[in-house]
Symmetry: C2
């Protein structure tokens, strides 16, 4: 179906705007992804938006035509509107000329098939959606199977996380669990839990990584709780040659994940 929206007070506009807030995303089970590049990544990964919203002033683009046709063919809805209304929906003064509404994915631990990939990333109480999206992007790059979000993490379906993931939100499995759910699940099968740590740790280079390797990263300001570190099969240290004793969480995860990748592919 195809229609045009010209009024700010249209209920669809209100609904789309509401998806910028976590509670409304949660209630609706839907999220927004902005921009043709992200929407094309989604399509190529097998995901079409339920609803495609385009500015009437958009420039023509073959990929957009393809997307539009496929959304209509799959029974989705295509909405044309003004750039101003699109700005109101995305909350950005210079919105990308197209936005899609997607159904949120299943994020239970059931989606994680640990034997499907040699590396999995695990984030504990990661609060910054940009860091979360960046970790998803890194997961894709190292050929990980997905990202497991432990305890109170940022929402992977927030606009900022989706944007920072550069499409990886559509290619990576994402699970959400408490530590008390995660640990028994992990121990119910093969899996090495590895964390960067200052306690009882070995150098991260040349450590005995094993597949499937679960790379655990802690909260941005607190790091990992001591009890969580104690449960790890391997604790590794990265060189810290300066004044600080830690890296940005998504950076630490990436440096470690690339080391694991190199070790497992040797």
């Amino acid at each position: 179906m195809r229609r045009e929206i010209t009024g700010y007070s249209n209920p669809t506009v209100k609904y789309l705007r509401s998806l910028r807030e976590k509670k409304h995303r949660k209630a609706a089970g839907e999220f927004l992804a902005e921009g043709l590049r992200l929407l094309t990544d989604a399509r190529e990964s097998g995901y079409l938006p339920e609803l495609l919203v385009m500015a009437k002033t958009r420039e023509a683009h073959t990929l957009l035509d393809v997307l539009e046709a496929e959304v209509l063919r799959s029974g989705g809805e295509v909405i044309e509107t003004t750039p101003d209304i699109l700005s109101k929906i995305t909350g950005k003064s210079n919105p990308q000329a197209v936005t899609g509404v997607f159904k949120e994915f299943d994020t239970s631990l059931d989606v994680i098939d640990r034997d499907a990939a040699p590396i999995w990333m695990v984030a504990e109480s990661l609060r910054d959606p940009g860091n979360l999206g960046t970790m998803l992007r890194t997961c894709d790059a190292v050929g990980a199977g997905g990202l497991i979000l432990i305890d109170d993490c940022a929402d992977p379906f927030s606009a900022e996380a989706v944007r920072a993931s550069m499409g990886a939100v559509f290619t990576q499995n994402i699970a959400r669990a408490s530590w008390d759910e995660f640990l028994p699940w992990l121990r119910s099968g093969a899996g090495q839990l590895v964390a960067a740590s200052l306690r009882d740790a070995v150098p991260y280079r040349g450590a005995a990584y094993a597949s499937p390797c679960f790379v655990l990263v802690g909260n941005e300001s607190q790091g990992l709780p001591e009890g969580y570190e104690a449960e790890c099969d391997l604790r590794v240290t990265m060189p810290m040659r300066g004044r600080a004793d830690s890296l940005n969480a998504s950076v630490a995860g990436a440096v470690l994940a690339y080391e694991v990748l190199a070790a497992l592919e040797k």
Copy 2:
């Protein structure tokens, strides 16, 4: 000097607020750093704020007492104000209870003593202040000497960059230059320019890194201009096992810088 400010329209409040904008920072040659942790990092690195602004409702803290005493001893000013006015200055609804005003540093290439460190990071048109701050933090961690910002980069003295640097803005040398200034400067002495690239590149692991090594990272969406890549002494590739062909800029820089560190320390 010590004084109290109670009115929103106080000229000092207006001045401090103005420092949230780049043009005003540039005109004033000053910037803000928020929070006791950051201010303590600054002090331990030899930098005291010209002006220290504290909420009257702050909790007592030994480090804050030390800071306050040193600011007063050095001829700086200490201002007490309400939490609301502090919020107005920082633009955050939940401001950290203390903010300092610092003089911007010299950011000419003259500040870079290439022989003082084995690694330097170089960012080209890096637009995201969070990425910039994260790169400064990584510089500190790998024992780099500093960050050289090429062409049109984000402002290293923005609140977001300062925050993301976790104090490294005070420990790392920062230079700003155009490519046409940087390249002749680089070639006027020893220095290996290395970039992650897809063109004519060798694997990043085991590549022949040499000190002083300048690790070059490109713009978030465009990457490096082809001509800049061509000038590099070494082009390396990182594994990309997924759909995407690039990493977050600060992540790519960190993975590469840690590889260089390991190679140079072997």
